[in-house]
Each structure stands twice: as structure tokens, then as C-alpha cells.
């Protein structure tokens, strides 16, 4: 049996416990989605099988109950990703403002296709559906931040430059 140990930090465990406390006795499974978000933030932007098993143990549920949920929701990356995952909106309203062109520009500048990661491990390009930012499209999300109105090649260039020098965000609970 291959054991790739995954251990939550104390702050992460406290955050998961906080969510568990929001639900009635015996309904701790309700904290599963929050726990997956915490795990992803703790594990370089993706949720490993080991992290899922750790969640199952904390919530006292079967590992399969975690797997089936993690595979249903599109925010959870189930494979390693780059330092910055660019979640680019590809849905209709953003396309009316140039989302297709923005995505094409990213592909050219980063020299990757959708779903791929740059060779230096800096960026993953992940197309996503509507992010409720249609008035400020084209746009994308990285971790907990929206970057909006990326409607020109210059805007994309500036964004890439800025991200190259940016550290990964620390979520509120880990501060």
C-alpha cells in the first residue's frame, strides 16, 4: 500500500472544525465542500487522494463519499496544477466582450492549450463557465480574486507580468 502522507495544518483543521460546528449533531458531512476548499488551498491548488482520505477521516465518512463529491464540482482540481491557475470565463456574456480573444491571447503568450500548465509550472489555463462577472468581462479568477476587463492584448500582458511576481494568496483562515 502506497502511503503518501497528507497532514492538515492546525489552522486548516481549526477552519474545518469551525464549519462542522455550523451543522446539527451527526450532520458533519455538510462541512465536506468547505473542507475540500481548505484542502486545495493547503495542497498547492489541488486535492490529492490522500487529502481526500484525510477529510473522510475528519468527517467520519467513507472515502468514496469524498471522491464522489470532489469529482462532481468543477472547482476542485484533481491533478497537480501550476502556481497560478487562471480560471478564464468562456461563457456567452463574456464572449460578447471578447472572452474568446482573451483566451486565444493567453494561449499564445503562455504557449499552452486549455487545461495545460506552462513548462515552468507558473500558470495553468483552465476555462470555466460563468463567474457572475458579466458586466466586467472578459475576466478570470485566480484563487479568491477576480481580474476583470481584460479586453486587450496589453491588459493580458500586464496581467501576466503582474502574476509572475505574485505570491500565492493566503486564505483568510491561514493568516
Amino acid at each position: 500500500m502506497i502511503q503518501n502522507a497528507f497532514k492538515f495544518s492546525d489552522k486548516a483543521l481549526a477552519e474545518i472544525q469551525r464549519y462542522i460546528s455550523h451543522y446539527p449533531e451527526g450532520r458533519q458531512k455538510s462541512a465536506l465542500l468547505p473542507a475540500l476548499h481548505v484542502a486545495q488551498a493547503e495542497n498547492n491548488g489541488w486535492v490529492s487522494p490522500e487529502a481526500m482520505d484525510a477529510i473522510a477521516e475528519i468527517l467520519n465518512i467513507q472515502p468514496i463519499e469524498v471522491y464522489e463529491v470532489a469529482t462532481f464540482y468543477t472547482m476542485f482540481n484533481l491533478k497537480p496544477v501550476g502556481k497560478h491557475v487562471l480560471e478564464v470565463c468562456r461563457t456567452g456574456p463574456c464572449c460578447l466582450r471578447g472572452a474568446d480573444q482573451m483566451i486565444e491571447t493567453f494561449k499564445q503568450k503562455l504557449n499552452i492549450e486549455e487545461g495545460e500548465t506552462t513548462a515552468d509550472g507558473m500558470f495553468t489555463l483552465k476555462p470555466v463557465e460563468c463567474l457572475a462577472s458579466c458586466g466586467t468581462g472578459p475576466m478570470l479568477q485566480v484563487r479568491e480574486t477576480y481580474y476583470e476587463n481584460l479586453d486587450s492584448e496589453e491588459a493580458v500582458d500586464q496581467f501576466i507580468e503582474m502574476m509572475r511576481n505574485k505570491e500565492v494568496e493566503t486564505p483568510e483562515w491561514a493568516k
Binding site: L33, P93, R97, E129
Partner: protein, 448 residues
């Protein structure tokens, strides 16, 4: 300028703090309801107001509340649907981000009316940054005695929590939302039983949209009768409209229901007209799932009446010549937009978001996406248009939840109103796939 019920103070600096929010009259409805009204009296006011569900369905909120089962000794829940995911819709996000206490106030007053002692705000997972804003505001409300035990000395207890989703459009459907809140896949439940009888944790539950709940404090403060005076007919009150697409001023606008569509598009108070001086081609007035209408039919009904921003006027003509107000996501297309490409984009969205539970939706959405993809990319067949109509028909009404309908309507309506454009793509694939190519024949014919 119409009356602003939801956004009057939204741009006041510091309104996201309890102090500033209270200075502008915040939490008055909590005092009034908890200290001077019975829960049933609050429900009655909401009924009288005519307030309709602002998430898209437009069902009368007071009536939904009155369906809530109240068995002895069983907890009841109020769950706020903040899973705003319908393409084109971003009003709730902007509202919560700027004025979180307004939603919290609505949650307290509404929870009191329903007799819920624990309530949840289920917010889409992408909006974790908004979740942090809400949690901060909730902590302030607890510290001020507006949440927790014995709120303002009234004897009423309420705990309020925020729960994140994980990226799934389907969780905006209320039973899928409840499944997700219980830590499961977002598969919609069979109804009955309805959530009002068996909802969250098998207990009676009301699920309401952010905007619906946020409208309750004004109704409590000013009475339902006053609210019912705003708007036209059964479209009472104000509505947040998310305006997007090829307009000069995209953004969220609070309108008094009844504003003429033409005014909404061209007035500088709202969309400010079509950008770059271009011509209007089409509008999807209520979110990606409602029927698209060409320029002439969005301005006037088939009978020649001026189209208004109300539930009734936008649906005038049924699906033959009308659409829906839906979630109030007003998506505007200029003359350079390709309807086939947009329809394919929407079909891809619904295929991506189908939960896979019902065969007609799981298979049908993928089928429509593939057929539209080949038409858009110059490989369409003559019979493809009829095939799309037939697949859409077979999905509609044959699924557990409305996602099937939501997937079928945009395809069916695009073909109904822009059939020539689809035919042009099939007959002239080379021309249609040239960069920037757009069919313009119909536009010339329909110039208004």
C-alpha cells in the same frame, strides 16, 4: 429616477460595516418585527406586497412561505440561495459584496417570520471572497446582539452561517442546493416532497434568492401595501437587473418594474445604448435560459404594444414571440454577434452543467452541443436544424429539474427567430466560417 429599495445606500462609503449600515437605518426591520409583530404578521405583509421570487421563477414569496410545514418539535430552516450562476446574472454578487448587512438583516427578519432558529446562506464557491465579507458582517451582527440568543431582548434565537458551493450551476436549483449543503453531489431531488415539507436535513425548509430576502426589510418597515404600489400589476416592487453585452454601461441597475425596455436599453440612466454606435440585433432579457428575442420583438410585442420590464410584458406572446424576465439578466447583442456561435456557447454551458441524472438532459445537451458545434464550424447538414428542434423538444419537460428546459429554450428560440442565420451557416460554410463573418440579411429585413 425610480425608487431605490435595495440600492439606495449601496455606494455609501463604509456601508459594509455595521456602524455605517445602522446609521442609514439598517436593522430597523429586525427591531420592528421582533418587538412589535408576530411571525404570521410578517408573512402577511410579504404576501400583501406581491413580492415574487427574484431568482428567476417569479413565484410569489409570501405564498411560498405560507406552504412551510410546521410540525411540533421539528426545526425549520431558511436557506438563502446565493449560488448565482445563470449566465448574465451578477446582481447578487455585487449586492452582497457591497452591502452584506442588507442581506443579513433580511435573513434575520425572514427567519423570524418562518420560525427558523438556524439559517444558511449557500454561496457559489467561486465567490469565496464574498463569503469572507459576509462572515465578517455576521460576526459584527453577533457582537451587536442581532444574531445569537435572545436577539435584542426579544426571546428569539437565530444562528446564521455561510456555506460555499464548489462550482456547479445546478446547485442554484433549490433541491440540488440542499443536497450540496448536506455535503453531497448536486443532484436535484424528485418532488414531492417539496422542501417546504422535507428540505434541509429532512426538515421543512424555505429556499429564497438573495434579492428576495433583501427586499423583506423594506416591506416590514413600510408595509406590504406600500410595496405593492410600486411597479405595475402583478409585477410589484423593484428589480435588480444585471445588464451585460454590447452596451455602453454594463452593470447592475435597480429598476421600478414597468420601465419600458427601449428606455432601459437607450437611456443614460441604464445601459446607455449600444456600444460603438452599433445597431441592436437581439436581447436575452432574463438570463441565458430564457428565449432570445430579435430587436423588433424586444421593443414591441407581436401585437405592437410597447414592451415593458415586467414579468407579464416580457412573457407576452408566450414562447412564440415573447420571453421571460427570469433572473433579470439582460444580455444585449449588437449587429456583429453571431447567433449560431452564441447558441453553441450556451449549449456547451448546459452540457457542461448537466448533473447527468436524467437521460434526456444528460444525452440531449451533449447532442445539441455537438450539432451546433458542427454548424458553427462549417460542417452542418441540411437536416440539422430540424434535428436540434426535435432534440430540444424531447428534453423539455422530461427531466427532474428545470435545467433540461433551460437548455432547450435557448436553442429552440434561436432557431425560431434566427432560422435564416442557421441555414446560411449550413449552405455557405466557407463564408460563414471566415474570421468575423456574421449573417446580416435578417437584420436588414427587420430594421425597426
Amino acid at each position: 429616477m425610480g425608487i431605490k429599495i435595495l440600492t439606495e445606500h449601496i455606494n455609501v462609503p463604509g456601508i459594509e460595516t455595521l456602524e455605517v449600515y445602522r446609521k442609514h437605518g439598517g436593522y430597523r426591520s429586525v427591531e420592528k418585527a421582533l418587538k412589535t409583530m408576530t411571525p404570521d404578521e410578517v408573512v402577511e405583509e410579504v404576501k400583501t406586497s406581491g413580492l415574487r421570487g427574484r431568482g428567476g421563477a417569479g413565484f410569489p414569496a409570501g405564498m411560498k412561505w405560507s406552504f412551510l410545514a410546521k410540525p411540533e418539535g421539528v426545526p425549520r430552516y431558511l436557506v438563502c440561495n446565493a449560488d448565482e450562476s445563470e449566465p448574465g446574472t451578477f446582481k447578487d454578487r455585487v449586492f452582497m459584496e457591497k452591502n452584506p448587512h442588507a442581506l443579513i438583516e433580511g435573513m434575520i427578519t425572514s427567519s423570524y417570520a418562518l420560525g427558523a432558529n438556524t439559517s444558511y446562506i449557500y454561496i457559489r464557491g467561486e465567490l469565496l471572497f464574498v463569503l469572507r465579507i459576509l462572515e465578517k458582517a455576521i460576526a459584527e451582527a453577533y457582537a451587536a446582539g442581532l444574531l445569537g440568543k435572545n436577539i435584542l431582548g426579544s426571546g428569539y434565537d437565530l444562528d446564521l452561517h455561510v456555506a460555499p458551493g464548489g462550482g456547479a450551476y445546478i446547485c442554484g436549483e433549490e433541491t440540488a442546493l440542499l443536497e450540496s449543503l448536506e455535503g453531497k453531489r448536486g443532484n436535484p431531488r424528485n418532488k414531492p416532497p417539496f422542501p417546504a415539507v422535507k428540505g434541509l436535513f429532512q426538515s421543512p425548509t424555505v429556499v429564497n434568492n438573495v434579492e428576495t430576502i433583501a427586499s423583506v426589510p423594506w416591506i416590514v418597515n413600510n408595509t406590504g401595501a406600500e410595496y405593492a404600489k410600486i411597479g405595475i400589476g402583478r409585477s410589484t416592487g423593484t428589480k435588480l437587473i444585471s445588464a451585460s453585452g454590447n452596451i455602453n454601461r454594463p452593470g447592475v441597475y435597480e429598476i421600478e418594474l414597468g420601465v419600458p425596455v427601449e428606455e432601459f436599453i437607450y437611456s443614460d440612466e441604464y445601459c446607455g445604448g449600444i456600444w460603438k454606435g452599433k445597431q441592436l440585433k437581439a436581447v436575452v432579457p432574463g438570463g441565458s435560459s430564457v428565449p432570445i428575442l430579435p430587436a423588433d420583438l424586444i421593443m414591441k410585442t407581436a401585437a405592437g404594444e410597447q414592451r415593458l420590464m415586467t414579468y407579464e410584458s416580457l412573457s407576452d406572446g408566450g414562447f412564440v414571440s415573447g420571453s421571460m424576465l427570469g433572473s433579470g439578466a439582460f444580455i444585449v447583442f449588437d449587429e456583429d454577434q453571431c447567433i449560431v456561435r452564441n447558441t453553441w456557447n450556451y449549449a456547451r454551458f448546459y452540457h457542461h452543467e448537466s448533473c447527468g441524472q436524467c437521460s434526456p438532459c444528460r444525452e440531449g445537451t451533449g447532442w445539441m452541443e455537438r450539432v451546433l458545434h458542427r454548424i458553427e464550424h462549417g460542417h452542418g447538414h441540411q437536416q440539422d436544424i430540424d434535428l436540434l428542434v426535435s432534440v430540444a423538444k424531447q428534453i423539455e419537460g422530461n427531466t427532474i429539474c428545470p435545467l433540461g428546459d433551460a437548455a432547450a429554450w435557448p436553442v429552440a428560440s434561436a432557431i425560431r427567430h434566427f432560422r435564416e442565420e442557421f441555414e446560411w451557416h449550413i449552405k455557405h460554410p466557407q463564408e460563414a466560417t471566415a474570421p468575423g463573418a456574421v449573417y446580416r440579411g435578417q437584420l436588414a429585413a427587420a430594421t425597426v
